[in-house]
Structures are given as C-alpha cells and as structure tokens.
Amino acid sequence: MIKKILKSSLSHLIIIFICILSVVPFLWLLSTALKGRAENIFAYPPVFIPKDITLENFKEVLKLVPILRYILNSLIVAIMAVVLNVVFAGLASYPLARMNFKGKKIIFFAILATIMVPFQTLMVPIYMIVLKLNLIDSYSTFRGYLGLVLPFAVSAFGIFLLRQAFLAIPKEIEESAVVDGCNSLQIFFRILFPMIKPQVAVLAIFTFISSWGDFLWPSIVLTSEKLYTLPVGINNMSSNFGADYRLVASGAIISLVPIIIFFLLLQKYFIKGSQDGAIKG
C-alpha cells in the first residue's frame, strides 16, 4: 500500500515538474513584461515576482506596434484557410471514399504523394507563381490575403482525415437516400457532410493552429507591415526592440492571449485530433 502511494506520488512529482517546465518560459516572459522601468530585469539572483507590478510596458508596446492589427490579419488569414480547407477537403474526400470512378487509384496516390513533399522544398516556385498571379500585398490588401492563404487551401492531411470519416458511415444510409430520389449533391450536403462534423471540427482546429503559427511563408510574401501576421509582426518587433526585453516580452504575451483562449475553449477537440490525425507532421 505504502509502496503504491509512493509510486503514484513520484509520477505526480515528475509530471508536475514537466508541467512547470512547459509554462516557465511563458511565465518568465510575463514576469519580465510586468516589471517597471526602475526594476532591473537582469537582477542576480533573478526576481520572479516583480516588486511593482505595472502595465506600462503593455500600454507602450500597443502604442508603438500595431499588434491588434497583426491579430486581425492572423485571424482573417486563419479563418480563410479553415473555410477553404474544410470545403475543398470535404468535396474531394467524398468521391475518394464513396464512389468508383476511372483513375481513382492514380488520383489517390497523387494526393498521397503531396504528403511526402513538404512546402519547404517547393517554396521557391510557389513564390514565383504567387508573383505571377499578382497575389502580393503591394497590389491590394485582399490580394495580399489571398497570396498568404491560397497555397495552403488544400491539404492532403485534410482529404485523408475526412475520407476516413466518410468511410466509417454505413453504406445503407446513402442507399436509402438514393431510393428517396436524392442526387449526389443532396446526399453530400444534406446527409453525409453533417455526419462527419467531429472530424471537420478537428480539421478546422488544426488548420487554424497551423495557419496562426506559420512564419516561413508570410515572411517570404509580405512586403508591407499593414498585412503582417502575428508571428511576422512579433518577430519584427523583437528585432527592432532587441535590447528592450520588457517591450518584446509584453508584445509576445499579448500575442499569446487569443490562441490560449481558443485552446482552452476547444481543448477536447485537440485531444480528439491527436487520435484521428497523427499524420500531420
């Protein structure tokens, strides 16, 4: 009995230690952001709880850097990415799961192949194509958004995720709809698509997170600060204020707020998502 309690408290201790490690970098940022001008942020030994907690740094960084604009940009881009991914993957996965047609195997393997070739190896020609289509923010804000989103409008991950979901629906449901005289579009929109809502939610959330956090592509295509997404804007701020870590930390903390709220509200889907969609690397 004693051994069992000891063992269980040891696992608790290890887990609690890991939990602390995974929040310490953020808490240290928060602590730095809350320290006033008079307080030494390089104090030795370090001061974890600021002597005079102040919101001055947050006010100042919001005045100097358009963080709210970055948040808006990130939100627009992420929502566009979610809508496009859900619609396109939903449509494409249906025939792959439910229909027999000529060239099915080839199309299936062509989509599969896209998983193996990461964006990083294609970014040079993708950039050239986006330039050619004038999807750059120097033309217009809307074109800028399109240039950010369209290369990621379809993911093989999404198609496979929803295909698995369609495969799990019993064939009889579809057959009875055919008997009732529904056509393919009606079957898809009225009957089958509503049945895969949980997987659609998973796809939506994972697309949102990866779009929200993406840095490489926006840092390549964006030219004007007006369209900076959060990661690009915060990185830019960090190189501009490099020496003033109070401001950098405040900016970083502000940028964390929306995604943490999003996560806490939808955490059950994250857990479900890691069960369904382990293939997204």
């Binding site: 370090p46 494409a92 195997k105 690397g281």
Partner: protein, 289 residues
C-alpha cells in the same frame, strides 16, 4: 450512367485538384526544372547548366556543413522526441486525478507559434538570463547558449523538443487506449515490476506508433526553420545553418534560384526517403484503397 458517375466524381475533386496542380504539381516540376539553370548572371535569362548546381553544392564546404548540421539537429531532437513523450504518456495514463489539467499544460507549447517560443527562449538564453543563473548556481561557468558554436545547435534543438513533447505525448496517449487491459492483469498476477510490465507489453504493442512518431519527428526536424531564423539566423559561424535555412537564404537573400532549387531537390530526396519508409513499412493499411 458510367460516364455520368465519373463526371460527378471529377466535379467533386475539381476544386481541390486545381489548387493541388497550381501549388503542388507545377511547383514540384519547376523546382526540378529550375535546378538545372544558373541565375547568377541574369535573373531573367538564366543559363541552362545541366548538373552544375548540384556539382557546386556537393563541392561547397558550406553546403556539406549544412547537411552535417541538419543531421546533427535530427539526432539531437528525434531520440528525445520519440522516447520522452512515451515515458510521459505512460506516467499520465496511470494518474487518476488532474489528468486533463496536466495534459492541457503539457500540450500548451504545441499551439503557440514557434516564433513566440523562440523569443521566450532567446530571453532564457541571454548571457545574464535565467538559464545561466541556474548554470552558475550549479557551479559552472555561464554558457553562451546562442553565441558559442558548441552550444548553438543544442539550444535550437531544445526549442524544437520543447514544442514537440506535448504533441507526441498526445499521440502516444491515444495509442495507449488500444492496449488491452487483460494483458496487464495477466502479468501483474505473475508479480512483474512496473518497468517489466511496460517493456514486455506496452512497448511491443505500441511499436507501430513508435515508428510513426520517429518518422513524423524526423521529417519535422528536417523542415525546421522558424526557431533558427528567430534565434540564430544560421549562425554563429554557420553552426546552425540547416538545409531549409540554406535554401531560404540562397533563394530570397542571394536570389540564386538555381542553387536554391538544387538544394530543395536534395532535401526532397532526403525527406522522401524517410516518408517512403513510413508509408510502405508502417502505414500500409491506412492508405489502402
């Protein structure tokens, strides 16, 4: 009828198809095509130079160092990202109280943008920063986390590991649900230790998932970019220059598209190797048609 059925299927596939052609298949062919041209004399009228870019890359000490760095980074990250999350998942799985709370905290870094995490770590790595405080507390000399070439890659890898642990732990946790409880009960009757229990039952049972995590974490290590860009920009002395960073630098800073494309093709082959291994050996069932 048959014809109509085909058309319906193609129409459903069309929207996704257009985007895949435009942003995947055309760029894919173009990457290979561009890798045979030299852009250094003129960006508009590049010369066809056959395999010259590949030859230059293989002869370039910087590119060879880049490949070495990339694999060094992979070796730093992958074993830890495969083993440690499994250990954590087993621990959390046995806990009854506060399970969700722990999961949420450990998963938190996964949802935060790598850029923000890299900024947080840059602050921890500062010469008089929090980490060096603990280093001094333990009686060692302060470490130049991002300025010393011996440590720079390790420091970058720590960020990648920090962000990956929760993700892989969740994958393991859901896989643990599939291990039948009777197996544990049987071995418990024999009085086996906790350690033996997992060595004999859990790990063999999870082998396909362990293989999957190895592949995913290897590929994402090969693709790492943000943490390097934010923290070191490939430095100091190119000690954190990886293939992806090299491609980025040659394409978008030096505007040498030919060399960057040849680098992309080489990276493509490396990643393809890892992916094919995964799909044909471990995930055959998942993609059956």
């Amino acid at each position: 009828m048959e014809f109509k059925k085909n058309i319906t299927a193609y129409l459903f596939l069309l929207p996704a198809g257009i985007f895949l052609v435009l942003f995947f298949f055309i760029p894919f062919i173009q990457t290979i095509y561009l890798s045979f041209f030299d852009f250094s004399k003129s960006a508009y009228n590049p010369d066809f130079v056959q395999f010259q870019n590949y030859i230059s890359l293989i002869k370039s000490p910087l590119f060879l160092k880049t490949i070495k760095n990339t694999f060094y980074f992979l070796i730093l990250c992958v074993p830890i990202l495969v083993i440690f999350p499994l250990f954590l998942a087993i621990l959390i799985n046995n806990i009854v109280k506060l399970k969700t709370f722990y999961k949420v905290l450990i998963y938190l870094p996964v949802i935060v943008s790598t850029v923000i995490i890299a900024i947080a770590f840059k602050w921890l790595y500062a010469p008089y920063g929090l980490l060096n405080y603990f280093v001094r507390l333990l009686g060692f000399e302060p470490v130049g986390w991002l300025t010393d070439t011996h440590f720079s890659m390790i420091s970058v890898a720590i960020v990648t590991i920090f962000r990956g642990i929760g993700y892989y732990m969740m994958i393991y946790l859901s896989a643990l649900l599939s291990v039948p409880n009777e197996l544990y009960e049987a071995i418990e009757v024999d009085g086996a230790s906790e350690f033996k229990k997992h060595m004999v039952i859990t790990i063999p049972h999870l082998m396909p998932i362990i293989a999957l995590v190895s592949t995913i974490s290897s590929i994402s290590a090969l693709k790492a970019f943000s943490e390097i860009y934010v923290m070191t920009k490939g430095g100091p002395l190119d000690s954190t220059m990886t293939i992806v960073y090299y491609i980025y630098k040659y394409a978008f800073e030096n505007l040498d598209l030919g060399l960057a494309s040849a680098g992309s093709v080489i990276l493509l082959f490396i990643i393809l190797g890892f992916s094919l291994l995964n799909i044909f050996v471990f995930e055959r069932d998942k993609y059956k048609i």
